[in-house]
């Protein structure tokens, strides 16, 4: 009895549980702040996912063309890196750049390493940033800190001498963290933004030794071989802290701290191109295209209902289901939504609607030759499934080759066309589920005894 119940109703269970999950994923955060007899509810919706290392805040990631932002292409100089170490260097380059942008606190960046015509390039897209030059300063600087100690003088012009510095053992690796502080000055007279460097224990020892041995001399702090500051050491410093002051604005101090904290780039990079994508264009256009999309969807549903009556309603339900699942997948995977991505979505919606039309048409054909509606439904499905299968396989082939999941070098490994392929592929798979599985079981349910 129970097993036959499961046999009959598992599709309904699957469909309803997926419906429940996708609704949970898509509920926006609504603040309630009301007390009930069973406890206080602060808010519902806006849920996130967390299993161990896997974490998602379930917000829809918008691409550069939608939210606006900066796009910077860097070409790394790998000439001094051994052939075998190149891959490692590029990977850590990517990590560090990602890390820097993340610490910058804007939306998640999109960092891609590209290989073409014997050249490596790093594409950095930072959504939501409206100052491409600042973004460039942030990601494009090597940010290698080094320290030098005064060692005699050199004459740069007649009568002009500057101190000469010799390198010390202290490097970026000895730094634990960098923080932004307002430097009070010795007498508390100034109040300028500065970066405080805290050394780790090894670093503190070396720093203490250096400052002890060289009291009265100048200590130079270099950033990428340029002297930032070269103060005179007044006394031995045992705390393991150093301040970098200078003509920093608060913003510059923040960026420098981010650069130091995320580590130096393993190789120097050169700016290849930079581009600012206006956010206003994106925003207004996206709002309009969503509006246009909704009106279009409504028209499609009206057309389907007028044309196929009850069947049309069923396809509207499975279409809504399709929307819920797709958006949930975008949030969970996550997929960055770009305009080409929306194109892929539109095509796959078209294919989903077409699956329904194919099924309805062939079911109608079958109803002409048989009296039993349930038999007509299952035969109609059989016939329609063959065309749906072949047509969707072709779509999946295109999505597969364009998306290039195995990262073959001769195919695309970045860029908007890949976004198109991703949404197309997901859309086709989901439309097979909703357009075929869901539609079939709703139809079966209505015609189960007829």
């Amino acid at each position: 009895m129970f097993s036959s119940f499961i046999k009959k109703s598992w599709p309904a269970v699957v469909i309803l549980s997926i419906l429940f999950i996708t609704i949970l994923v898509n509920i926006p955060k609504i603040t309630i702040n009301k007390s009930y007899s069973f406890g206080k509810i602060n808010y519902i919706g806006g849920y996130g996912l967390k299993f161990g290392n896997f974490e998602r805040d379930l917000s829809l990631k918008k691409g550069l063309d939608i939210s606006g932002g900066a796009r910077v292409v860097l070409s790394p100089d790998l000439s001094k890196v051994d052939e075998g170490d190149k891959e490692q260097a590029l990977l850590s380059l990517k990590d560090i750049i990602e890390n820097r942008v993340n610490r910058f606190g804007v939306n998640e960046p999109n960092v891609l390493v590209n290989y073409f015509n014997g050249q490596y390039r790093v594409l950095v897209e930072i959504p939501g940033v409206d100052n491409v030059d600042r973004a460039l300063d942030l990601v494009g600087k090597t940010a290698q800190l080094s320290f030098g100690i005064e060692d005699g003088t050199e004459e740069i012009a007649e009568g002009h001498t500057i101190p000469k510095f010799s390198p010390t053992d202290l490097t970026s690796e000895h730094i634990e963290k960098a923080t932004v502080e307002l430097y009070q000055g010795k007498n508390g007279t100034s109040n300028e933004p500065s970066v405080k460097i805290t050394f780790n224990s090894d670093g503190a020892k070396i720093f203490s030794q250096i400052t002890k041995d060289n009291t009265g001399k100048r200590l130079a702090i270099y950033l990428d071989d340029q002297i930032l500051i070269a103060p005179v050491i007044n006394e031995q410093i045992v705390r393991g802290e150093a301040f970098i002051t200078g003509q920093f604005t608060l913003e510059q101090a923040k960026d420098l701290a981010i650069q130091i904290n995320s580590g130096a780039l393993p190789v120097p990079v050169e700016v290849f191109s930079k581009e600012q994508v206006g956010p206003s264009v994106g925003e207004a256009q996206v709002y309009k295209s969503v509006l246009g999309g909704l009106v279009g969807l409504l028209l499609v549903i009206i057309f389907m209902i007028l044309n196929y009556r009850k069947f049309g309603l069923i396809s509207a339900v499975s279409l809504m289901f399709y929307g819920l699942i797709t958006v949930s997948l975008y949030k969970i995977i996550p997929i960055t939504l770009t305009l080409p991505g929306i194109a892929g979505l539109i095509l796959s919606i078209g294919m989903a609607v077409d699956s329904s039309i194919l099924i309805f048409e062939s079911t109608k054909d079958q109803m002409l030759v048989t009296d039993s509606k349930s038999i007509a439904v299952s035969r109609g499905f059989e016939v329609a499934w063959k065309s749906i299968k072949d047509a969707n396989i072709v779509g999946l082939i295109i999505a597969f080759v364009l998306f290039n999941p195995f990262e073959w070098g001769f195919l695309l490994n970045s860029g908007p066309v890949r976004g198109f392929a991703a949404t197309l592929g997901i859309g086709i798979l989901v439309s097979l589920f909703t357009g075929v599985f869901v539609t079939k079981h709703i139809l079966n349910y209505f015609y189960r005894n007829k």
């Binding site: 015509n117 206006g278 246009g292 077409d354 016939v383």
Partner: protein
């Protein structure tokens, strides 16, 4: 409805369209966006007329540029990647109009876009090859896959030609969005053809008729579905095109034209080509022919089953 009898009508129409497309492509070329050519592009709004803006710029700039407009949106392009100073200079000139609003500025070097285009071409080539093999295998006919691919090339070529034309007379540009639209149209075209060929395969098994009757019957049977399907796509895309502007408008328009072309080409181009290829190959040596005896046997089996 007898598609094959009147197939010279779509042949003539398609030939005209392709000639028109080729003419446009050769005559005007493509107006590629800066993504592909490199250079700088500034999109802005201004209340001045095109002539005035053009005159202002022409007087002060020492490099070549193009100014295009659609409604109140102006697009300034040059194939020079402008320096900071040059951008500042450009803004100063445009700022003479108090209603000047900068919408988007991009300064791009060409290599990235060329790489994308190059790799997209390779990817499309590979996709077509795989799809060719898949259709040939699935329908047991190289002719079927050839005609499906030919119809697809027909659609993309005409769309390219139209956009070469729109690029000349309006602000349409071949950008990455257009490339994705082209990919969409390409998929849609194949999709539509396969649905018809699938019906052909079924009918070929079921009925005793020759290809002439089977193809005609299949086109008739899939016509309603084909038209309904494009109506839904057209409804969705038309409302999208109505709302948006700029590159998104051209994107929606490309898809819209693509849907119409795809719906037209599957029954009117792919099917007649398939029929004519079938006819032509019958004059070829034996090994190119379909194995007839086997088919006849199968046909009879199914003929008995078909009665429901």
């Amino acid at each position: 409805m007898n598609i094959l009898k009147y197939r010279y009508v779509p042949y003539a129409l398609s030939s005209l369209l392709i000639l028109f497309a080729l003419f446009n492509i050769v005559r005007f070329g493509f107006s590629l966006s800066t993504e592909f050519t490199g250079g700088s592009e500034l999109t802005f709004k201004s209340s001045l007329s095109v002539g005035d803006v053009n005159k202002n710029l022409d007087q002060s700039l020492d490099y070549e540029f193009k100014l295009r407009t659609q409604d109140d949106i102006y697009v300034f392009t040059t194939n020079k990647d402008l320096s900071e100073n040059e951008v500042e200079n450009l803004r100063n000139i445009l700022n003479k109009d108090p209603n000047f609003v900068e919408e988007n500025l991009s300064v791009v070097k060409a290599v990235i876009g060329q790489e994308l285009i190059y790799k997209t071409f390779i990817a499309v080539g590979i996709s077509i090859l795989v799809i060719f093999v898949f259709i040939a295998y699935s329908f047991k006919s190289v002719l079927a896959s050839s005609s499906a691919i030919l119809a697809m090339i027909h659609d993309t070529l005409i769309l390219l030609g139209l956009f070469a034309f729109f690029g000349e007379v309006a602000t349409a540009k071949i950008d990455l969005l257009f490339v994705t639209a082209l990919l969409t149209v390409l998929s849609f075209s194949l999709y539509d053809t396969i649905v018809i060929f699938d019906r052909v395969r079924e009918n070929y098994k079921k009925t005793s008729g020759g290809y002439y009757e089977v193809l005609n019957l299949s086109v008739r049977q899939t016509m309603v579905r084909s038209i309904n399907n494009s109506i839904t796509s057209i409804l969705a895309l038309y409302s999208l095109a109505l709302f948006v502007s700029g590159s998104l408008f051209w994107f929606a328009l490309a898809l819209l034209i693509g849907v119409v072309l795809g719906t037209y080409s599957s029954p009117m181009v792919a099917v007649p080509i398939f029929y004519d290829l079938q006819r032509l190959t019958k004059k070829l040596p034996k090994k190119y022919k379909r194995k007839k005896p086997n088919k006849k046997k199968k046909k009879k089996e199914h003929k008995d089953k078909v009665v429901v």
